[in-house]
């Protein structure tokens, strides 16, 4: 009888731990997911179709999520298939040099207010202006060397890939 009671307690504890871990993972996912607002009313000369708008929103958000993951884990794997051209090269170089120097960066609590400002006549190039806000933490090993909330203005070029929109160029500018 006493043994059964111990077993039940153990099961309950295990369940509680599992629930806590699950809740923690959901909280992490909610914190890590960038918040993106896309405004396509200024897109010209071609107006953006609503399906395209949804795809851009999904793929841009995913690109930033993976950019954060790559910079935090010092792995280039999350960048694959989301970034191409010079954006891909710069980000790979950034991750590689971070790893060589024993640094890592975190892009936390991301918010992106994105305006589509140029959408080519044939729909093969899209330029976005992203007013991004995030908590930037830079670590040298485990020592935090920089921690601030920043607002950065990005000019982004996206092009359609085989099954998604990919980031071809991403450049921070002083202002739009």
């Amino acid at each position: 009888m006493r043994k059964i009671s111990k077993l039940t307690r153990f099961r309950r504890a295990a369940l509680l731990i599992a629930a806590a871990l699950l809740a923690a993972s959901f909280t992490f996912a909610a914190d890590a997911a960038p918040e993106v607002q896309l405004n396509t009313s200024k897109a010209a000369p071609r107006a953006m179709e609503s399906l395209t708008e949804r795809a851009i929103l999904r793929d841009y958000k995913f690109a930033w999520y993976n950019l954060g993951l790559a910079m935090e884990s010092n792995s280039t794997a999350p960048l694959n298939a989301l970034f191409v051209g010079s954006a891909n090269k710069w980000l790979h170089d950034a991750v590689d040099s971070q790893r060589r120097n024993g640094l890592s960066s975190r892009y936390l609590n991301q918010t992106h207010k994105v305006d589509a400002v140029f959408y080519s006549p044939e729909g093969d190039v899209l330029e976005l202006h992203d007013t991004a806000g995030y908590d930037l933490k830079v670590l040298d090993g485990s020592k935090m060397i920089h921690n601030e909330h920043v607002t950065v203005y990005y000019v982004v070029l996206m092009t359609p890939g085989a099954d998604r929109w990919v980031v071809r160029d991403i450049q921070a500018v002083p202002q739009f």
Partner: protein, 300 residues
């Protein structure tokens, strides 16, 4: 009496605390003084060397976190940190951090260099002649390190065919992009499009092909199998021969019987063998164009 002694002891211990706090503050002030102001470059350009002035004295660690590179270097405070051209190739925001006992940071921007190449996208690769606003192009200037040049620059779009200029159009880039639309010409052949920015050019070619057939005319003669019918050379309304493979549909009506043949244009002409014994009416169509009707009597 004991109260007096206790108060004296308290004052003494408070004095020690105050002394320690003062000493700590002084040490802190000395440490802070070692790491002075951080002055980043104000007009850095991609691929050019730049320097960052860091005031103070002693040793420190310098970090540079840029869009395409991260650097960590031991430095002596009070000396400028020189950034090599290869360390500033990516345009964008750079964060400079110096750490001694504490860390100081500042950021600066690296601007793209001069135009070195143009991304020139032109659509379509084949365009029918005589169509309004069917050709479009987008030009984006990049520097030698593939940074998009965002400062306004005039792009000259030129159209030429057979070595003859058909016109040019100049438009400024807006946030790195300039675009145009154009109608296709009247004659089939290659159309060269050139985008030029500050002496840097990029050329693309559009193949102008004949438009839809126009004035379809047919002729035919009876043979042992029925009627052999063929078109005159099939041309568009501007007189350009339509490309081989263009389908012409021949229809023969023999009383209640109808025979239909889809024939591709070969060397400008479409031919079909129609099965018909009696009097027959043959017509032809291609795209939206109907040709003439051919009346052939039975056994003729």
């Amino acid at each position: 009496m004991s109260w007096l002694i206790n108060t004296a002891l308290k004052i003494r211990s408070w004095g020690r605390v105050a002394f320690c706090a003062l000493a700590a503050l002084c040490l802190g002030a000395v440490a802070f003084a070692q790491l002075g102001e951080l002055r980043p470059p104000t007009n850095a350009v991609a691929g050019n060397s730049a320097s960052i002035a860091i005031e103070g004295g002693g040793n420190a660690t310098f970090y540079l976190i840029g869009p395409g590179s991260t650097m960590k270097r031991e430095i002596k405070l009070g000396q400028d940190v020189t950034l090599q051209p290869q360390e500033t190739q990516a345009a964008g925001r750079y964060l400079a951090i110096v750490c001694a006992d504490t860390c100081l940071s500042s950021y600066f921007f690296v601007a793209p260099g001069k135009p070195a190449s143009i991304a020139f996208l032109v659509h379509p690769s084949r365009a029918p002649v005589g169509q309004n606003s069917i050709i479009s192009g987008v030009a984006m200037p990049f520097d030698e390190f593939q940074n998009l040049i965002l400062s306004p620059a005039n792009v000259s779009f030129e159209l030429a065919a057979d070595g003859k200029s058909l016109g040019s159009h100049e438009t400024p880039t807006h946030f790195g992009a300039a675009w145009f639309r154009s109608s296709s010409g009247r004659t089939a052949g290659t159309l060269q499009l050139t985008a030029t920015i500050n002496g840097v050019s990029m050329r693309r070619v559009v193949q102008q092909v004949a438009s839809e057939p126009c004035n379809l005319r047919i002729k035919g003669q009876r043979n042992a199998k029925g009627v052999l019918v063929e078109t005159d050379p099939v041309r568009d309304c501007a007189g350009n021969p339509v490309p081989d493979g263009t389908i012409v549909t021949f229809t023969a009506k023999d009383g209640d019987d109808t025979d239909t043949v889809d024939a591709p244009v070969k060397k400008g002409v479409a031919r079909a063998q129609m099965i018909a014994n009696g009097a027959v009416v043959i017509s032809a169509a291609s795209g939206v164009v109907m040709g003439n009707e051919l009346h052939i009597a039975g056994g003729q």
